[in-house]
Subunit: 399 residues, 2 copies
């Protein structure tokens, strides 16, 4: 049987930071036993962060982020360091590689990462060629307040210790996050309403449908799946009402109107808003929609630069619904990719995409930015539910 | 919403054949409007066939196979031509590019392709720089018995004509093949028994489960999905028995013993044996298992060189079952990848993998090879069903 892979967005993102030539790429190779990262003896080989999906025993599917040296210089070097800075927003765990010499830059980066609640492991690499690894370790312990793990990526020494350190430092919520939370459990009947008309390429299902199906099977639920136009027929096939109905948002009204009274109802996009972000923040942010006016300014932010389907929601549907309510003059700015404004203060509301291609950390870092600027933030799915008047009829996971 | 892509195995495989520097890579770029194939003005840039997944309007998802020139020379050249020859086995449609000069090699290739029932379109590329494209076209028509389509990949001329020619030449069975055939239709209730314990990576479903679910939704069936350990509970949730139960082969016995009498039963691997091959040939081939003896010689052939899961079936389960029946001395050869023996006559039976990573054409070409050598051929799923005595209890699609 052929397998499709764990989506990158679901992998633990482990980023490596350090000076040029500190051996970040070699360390990834040593950890995975593969020769995947390009290793060169010249400093500054890695420019844009390189993402490498791997199985890392015993953690499971991870995504290594191999960054450019944070001490890079010159015009191009500054650009590289900026890209390295941007990688912090999606880092679940960090390895900071120490080099001989002074440790002020390393200290600065460790503090920056810790401030964002990212677990950090300090690593001394190249113990096979360092003049005095022990002295560096002692000095690092003093300067950084943590004991570095000593390894030689080249000789494979200390790699087991480093794996163990990674397992010990795993973020607390790692593996705990679930799509459907406590809405359903063992033996529950769950209905999925999944129109296939325009959404997925031939022979495929869109990722949220696959991930939700898999989670429900893992939870030992029984799943009944149907398109919207056979939804009522599907209900008739059942001996009793489903505990929960999860629908594509676009047919929410139909599903709501014909649903058995005892069935809970939610949508894929609302569940993913919680799975990939902070549902409480998004629901609170959606309340701000009622307080907008003709002179309000709204920021619509997409994580992907190419998002043909959600584009329709973010660039057409949501602006149309907002302008229908508050007038055509309302100022709505749309940004994509990493172009998230540093200054959010001009905005009355931020509406973010589902972020399905990114890890949760990345979406949370944008929520934090909005909260720091005191600007309410919601997301596509929750905003659409609010704008169509159904947000109060929906069940949420993990609130 | 993020999308997963149409699997390559489900795409129409369009291969380009021609001499070195006939402009095969440029033509792919012109057809897709993308700059994906590496184009060089030096002959012989393409070595191993290059596979490029694309959306080709109006056909849909295709896989272009960009081959090395069939006139390549020298030791390395002969190796390249051999790879080009191997690409024929998976070609659904072929474009043969004509070059100025004599056309004997082109004629030879067109005949080779047509002998395998592969639709062929002759193409004259570079009409912007050819000395006399019309004369070449007239000559080709005479020599090859078909009118070439004249294009300039560089200038984009004639590309619309070529697209139209492709649509006209589509293989007859293109788009007609279905996984579940006429076993179920609109409104039917179908149960999927899908244990998730060891099969798929976290957060994913294996490809046959995704493809079957999608096809059933497209057919407007209602689907009830369950793991094996909640199978009886799932049946209890239903107002009536499902029309069809599709189970993972590994829990066939349990599912069969508890199935409602009126429900048809089949397995994912048996359905895919028909979808990806010729179910009649495979069932006939499975009958040969009864006629083996201690001195028989069996070939087990895997399409993938890395197949961690099916490996277990082909390398462990099937040999074990065969030897349990006919003795430990039975000779069982295992080959993987393109190492399919040219001479099959020493064998009494060929058992092929499901070929889920390959297109149907490729599996059919191996069936043809076995039939030409008068050796019965079956596949993993059908052989397992036969060996466990359930083949006569199963429903087939499209027999």
């Amino acid at each position: 049987m052929s397998l499709t892979n764990t989506p990158n967005a679901n992998r633990l993102h482990i980023a490596l930071y350090g000076r040029r030539n500190s051996g970040k790429s070699s360390l990834i190779n040593a950890l995975t036993g593969q020769n995947t990262a390009l290793v060169s003896e010249y400093a500054g080989t890695t420019t844009d962060p390189v993402y490498k999906a791997m199985e890392l025993h015993p953690i499971g599917p991870v995504l290594f982020i191999d960054t450019a040296g944070f001490d890079d210089e010159g015009e191009l070097g500054r650009l590289r360091v900026e890209k390295t800075e941007q990688a912090v927003a999606r880092t679940d765990m960090a390895l900071v590689l120490l080099s001989e010499g002074e440790l002020s830059l390393e200290k600065q980066w460790i503090e920056k990462l810790k401030k964002r609640n990212i677990p950090v492991i300090a690593v001394i690499n190249k113990i096979d060629i360092l003049k005095d690894a022990q002295a560096l370790a002692a000095r690092a312990e003093k300067a950084l307040g943590q004991t570095p793990v000593c390894v030689s990526a080249l000789k494979g020494e200390g790699i087991t210790d480093l794996r163990e350190a990674l397992v010990r430092a795993l973020p607390e919520d790692y593996e705990r996050k679930s799509i459907t939370g406590d809405l359903v459990g063992d033996g529950d009947l769950v209905m999925l309403v999944m129109p296939q008309d325009i959404q997925a390429p031939k022979g495929r299902l869109i990722l949220p449908q696959v991930q939700t199906t898999r989670e429900l099977l893992d939870k030992k639920c029984v799943i009944i799946s149907t398109t919207a136009d056979r939804y009522e027929l599907a209900l008739e096939q059942l001996a009793h009402a489903p505990k929960l109905i999860i629908t594509d948002s676009q047919c929410f009204k139909q599903v709501y109107e014909h649903k058995p009274q005892e069935s809970l109802l939610t949508s894929f996009s609302v569940l993913f808003a919680g799975y990939k972000g902070d549902i409480n923040a998004f629901v609170a942010g959606a309340a701000a929609i009622d307080k907008l006016g003709p002179g309000s300014r709204v920021l619509i932010a997409e994580a992907c630069t190419h998002a043909p389907l959600s584009e329709d929601i973010g660039r057409v549907k949501i602006p149309r619904a907002l302008r229908a309510r508050y007038g055509q003059q309302m100022q709505i700015d749309i940004v994509a990719g990493v172009d998230f404004p540093k200054d959010l203060s001009p905005y009355d509301l931020v509406i973010h995409c589902g972020g399905c291609m990114f890890n949760r950390k990345y979406v949370l870092s944008r929520i934090e930015a909005a909260q720091a600027a005191d600007v309410p933030i919601t997301n596509y799915g929750v905003a659409l539910a609010k704008l169509t008047g159904i947000l109060d009829k929906i069940s949420f996971a993990g609130r």
